[in-house]
């Protein structure tokens, strides 16, 4: 790409010569971009194997490290879900599993998937890899802190996994960890298990804070010349807003984890009311369990959007590239992301409708919850309008994107049910809730992750993933996921409670059993199908087709690095200069159907590019 910078003759133009737009003639001054404000970033290049691959300060390697660690925890979470489905569908085959085991698996599955898998994968994995490349930076602004961030995450995962091996096993309190039962004797893992969980969460928050500062400052202060905020790919916007949410929401988790640790270790009573146990009054008394619920959900609801917003951003980019059309309503999309992020701090108590709070509170939180549907629906319309009359390539990436839209709408609509107090109360703690949040924040973001893996794998590894295997992977996952979660809505409607080890003598014993078996079989198949991707990756790394530079003909900067895969420093001798947004696809009058962000205006003067 270095040739293109040489064409950029106005590189040294003085500000006095600039911007006489009134004439409208072909004038090299229209290519003027202000000189760099900040000098070259000083980079520390690795000197040994350990510095290059283990304690590496290169954001791209850190991103891959985050990705692999998160995928490892995700596989653990997947196996736990298999065990749960085995018990629910075929209890006679799951004789080794006690009710305690089941609760532990539920808890660990939830916590792993939400925090250690999805959050780490989107922000740690995609964030680290893509932010510097997409904004045109050489690296994250604090590479050393970034490295510490990953290793803190690694230790957090190690502590979490260690809880499987301590006496009493991991905590079985449910992923929400509601006190008082979480730390009381009788709950599985109320000894070491819960302690390790709380320590692990605290470490995760500390590690994430270090990473999050990097993501935010890199986006705010280290963009390349010409890269305005409104020229950033939506991926960056999504990750940025999610990071802001995380920086403001994780403190509540940290505080609640610290307080519960003290309740556990020092017998304080922050969250512990007076408790009678077998006729005896326990040491605890005077605390407020509801306080924990407020703290937890003040973290917990933004957490949903910490996972969803990067997915929104990434899918916007994927749809635009693979439909060869600019994203419909770019600015609306940006403001929708920001608006959803801001609103997400005012809805947390919709998780607590049945906690006995004041009905006016419920009214307030139902209103704010439903207001979030407005920017979210805007985004869905915009994705569809981006596809509308686009030059759609039905490849694996696009399939995942389409799958995402359908799944997300589905999960979003059930969210409107649950956002209303009067509908939520009877549906609370049933399988309807399970179906809702798995659709909307489990399967939908996962589809985006899959699409993103197929999309960016050529950049990371320099080889193209196999399309045929990818299509198998998609269709099994897509149809299978619907087979799992669609029936769960009906289970919820007939009132099957969630988190139950078995149905005992209830009428569900007979009415839900066939459905449960069906769901379990689908779950085994979908879980197994995920290994197609792992097989695909291994096969591609060994024998895959070498990717050309920019195989998808995309515009954003990550495809215009000096080498593929990009090396440390990303862009060779000279940082790219940005002249436009990354969505100039199928521009009338242009030679190609895409115009890279680095193309100077004078080169495309005869085309009808958007003014950005």
């Amino acid at each position: 790409m270095s040739d293109e910078y040489d064409n950029n003759k106005s590189y040294q133009a003085q500000s006095s010569e600039v911007m006489d737009g009134s004439t409208g003639s072909v004038n090299p001054d229209i290519d003027y971009v202000r000189p760099s404000e900040v000098g070259e970033q000083e980079l520390y290049h690795p000197h040994s194997f350990i510095e290059k691959w283990v304690f590496c300060q290169d954001a791209k390697v850190i991103g891959v490290q985050y990705f692999l660690t998160a995928v490892f925890t995700g596989v653990v979470g997947l196996i736990l879900s298999w065990l749960m489905r085995l018990q629910l569908g075929f209890p006679e085959l799951a004789g080794f599993m006690t009710a305690e085991h089941y609760y532990q698996f539920v808890t660990m599955h939830g916590m792993i998937m939400v925090v250690y898998f999805l959050t780490a994968l989107f922000l740690g994995g995609f964030g680290n890899y893509l932010i510097p490349l997409m904004v045109g930076a050489r690296d994250m602004v604090f590479p050393y802190v970034n490295m510490l961030s990953f290793w803190m995450f690694f230790v957090a995962v190690a502590v979490l996994m260690a809880s499987f091996f301590v006496p009493g096993g991991p905590t079985g309190a449910g992923w929400t960890l509601y006190p008082p039962q979480t730390i009381l004797e009788g709950t599985p893992g109320a000894g070491m298990g819960i302690l390790l969980m709380l320590i692990s969460l605290s470490l995760f928050v500390i590690g994430f804070t270090m990473g999050g500062l990097n993501y935010m400052i890199t986006i705010l202060q280290a963009r390349t010349r010409g890269m305005t905020l409104m020229r950033m790919p939506l991926t960056v916007w999504g990750i940025f807003t999610a990071t802001v949410l995380a920086m403001l929401a994780f403190p509540a988790l940290l505080v609640s984890a610290i307080m519960m640790t003290l309740d556990k270790v020092l017998q304080t009573s922050f969250f512990m009311p007076t408790i009678l146990k077998a006729g005896e009054v326990l040491e605890y008394g005077g605390g407020s369990p509801i306080l924990f619920q407020h703290l937890f959900w003040f973290f917990g609801h933004p957490e949903v959007y910490i996972v969803a917003l990067p997915a929104f951003g990434i899918v916007s980019d994927l749809i635009s590239v693979h439909a060869r059309k600019n994203i419909f309503g770019y600015r609306m999309m940006v403001w929708a992301i920001v608006g959803i992020g801001a609103l997400s701090f005012f809805v947390w108590a919709h998780h607590m409708y049945v906690s006995g709070m004041n009905p006016w509170f419920g009214f307030f939180f139902a209103t704010t919850t439903l207001i979030i549907a407005v920017p979210t629906a805007m985004k869905v319309y915009n994705w569809i309008l981006t596809l509308w009359r686009g030059n759609i390539r039905i490849n694996v990436v696009m399939l995942w994107c389409l799958g995402f839209i359908v799944t997300f709408v589905n999960g979003g609509i059930t969210g409107i049910f649950l956002g209303n107090v009067s509908v939520d109360v009877p549906l609370s703690d049933t399988y309807f809730v399970i179906a809702h949040f798995h659709m909307v924040m489990g399967i939908a973001p996962l589809m985006v992750i899959m699409g993103a893996v197929y999309h960016w794998f050529p950049l990371v590894a320099g080889k193209m993933l196999d399309e045929g295997l990818g299509k198998w992977h998609f269709w099994i996952t897509f149809l299978g996921a619907y087979s799992i979660y669609f029936p769960m809505h009906y289970l919820g409607f007939i009132g099957v409670p969630r988190r139950y080890f078995e149905m005992y003598d209830s009428p569900y014993m007979t009415s839900a059993v066939g459905m449960n078996e069906f769901i379990s079989i689908a779950a085994f198949i979908v879980g197994a199908a995920q290994f197609i991707l792992i097989f695909n990756i291994i096969k591609t790394l060994k024998t895959g087709k070498k990717a050309e530079q920019n195989p998808w003909k995309a515009n954003s900067l990550e495809w215009y690095t000096s080498t593929v895969p990009p090396e440390h420093g990303n862009f060779g001798d000279r940082l790219p200069v940005v002249h436009r947004w990354p969505y100039d696809f199928s521009v009338p009058g242009a030679k190609e159907d895409y115009i890279p962000q680095t193309t100077a205006p004078s080169e495309v003067i005869h085309t009808e590019v958007e003014k950005t």
Binding site: L213, P251, M259, L295
Partner: protein
């Protein structure tokens, strides 16, 4: 600090300036060092941590059925045989606020490249912080001698001790971290690391006097948080 000058970019004052900075390329906060921006955002996040602690404290204090201890009796200190309410706390607050002053002057001398003065003032700040932590340790041990524990105390609601030790402990931890870094940077300034362009121990990158200002931001924040803790614990 002088006003930053940016080539080819007009820095406007007020809301218009904010809008044009935000709409520009490269940086949002013009002329602001990366590390400084990072510290501000970290402090914002940390504000949420302390807010969560203090709001939990208010909720805990409000919902416990047992009466809350009277702070002016619990925190009284005997001076010449007379119990003076809040004497120690007043001293602690005075020392910490003073150290904020010396920190601010250290930043000024740092930017003037007055290595010696900057170093001495940093040292004074560190010693102020150390005195604060020492007095806090004294207060803790006094309360512990009187039977106050995180899980119970003789004066009233058990949550009093819980919140007191947790929140002052968390704040004291912040101060201690600050003191450690103040000592490290005192050494770095006296040894002339910034003048020599010596690379950092961990980051392997060159430093600058802006690091003193970043440390100062943290230190002022810790002071500010103390003002809130003071108000909520000792005056309420």
């Amino acid at each position: 600090m002088s006003e930053p000058k940016i080539d080819g970019f007009e820095l406007k004052p007020g809301f218009k300036g904010m809008a044009s900075d935000t709409a520009s390329d490269q940086t949002m906060f013009k002329g602001v060092h990366w590390g400084k921006a990072m510290m501000w955002i970290f402090l914002l996040s940390d504000t949420f941590v302390f807010s969560c602690f203090l709001i939990s404290y208010m909720k805990g204090r409000g919902s416990t059925p047992v009466e809350w201890p009277n702070p002016s009796e619990v925190f009284a200190l005997e001076a010449f045989g007379v119990p003076v309410p809040l004497l120690l706390i007043a001293l602690m607050t005075f020392v910490l606020i003073t150290s904020s002053g010396t920190m601010a002057i250290a930043v000024k001398y740092g930017y003037e490249k007055n290595r010696k003065m900057c170093g001495w003032l940093l040292l004074a700040t560190a010693l102020g912080g150390l005195t604060f932590v020492g007095m806090q340790a004294y207060e803790w041990s006094k309360l512990i001698h009187e039977g106050v524990r995180p899980w119970e105390n003789p004066f009233g609601a058990a949550q009093f001790g819980s919140f007191f030790f947790m929140i002052t402990g968390f704040h004291g931890f912040h101060v201690s971290i600050g003191v450690i870094f103040l000592f490290i940077y005192t050494y770095k300034v006296f040894a002339g690391h910034y003048e020599k362009g010596k690379k950092g121990w961990f980051t392997k990158l060159k430093g600058d006097y802006v690091e003193i200002e970043i440390l100062g931001l943290y230190w002022h924040f810790v002071d500010l948080v103390w003002v809130f803790i003071f108000a909520f614990f000792y005056l309420w």
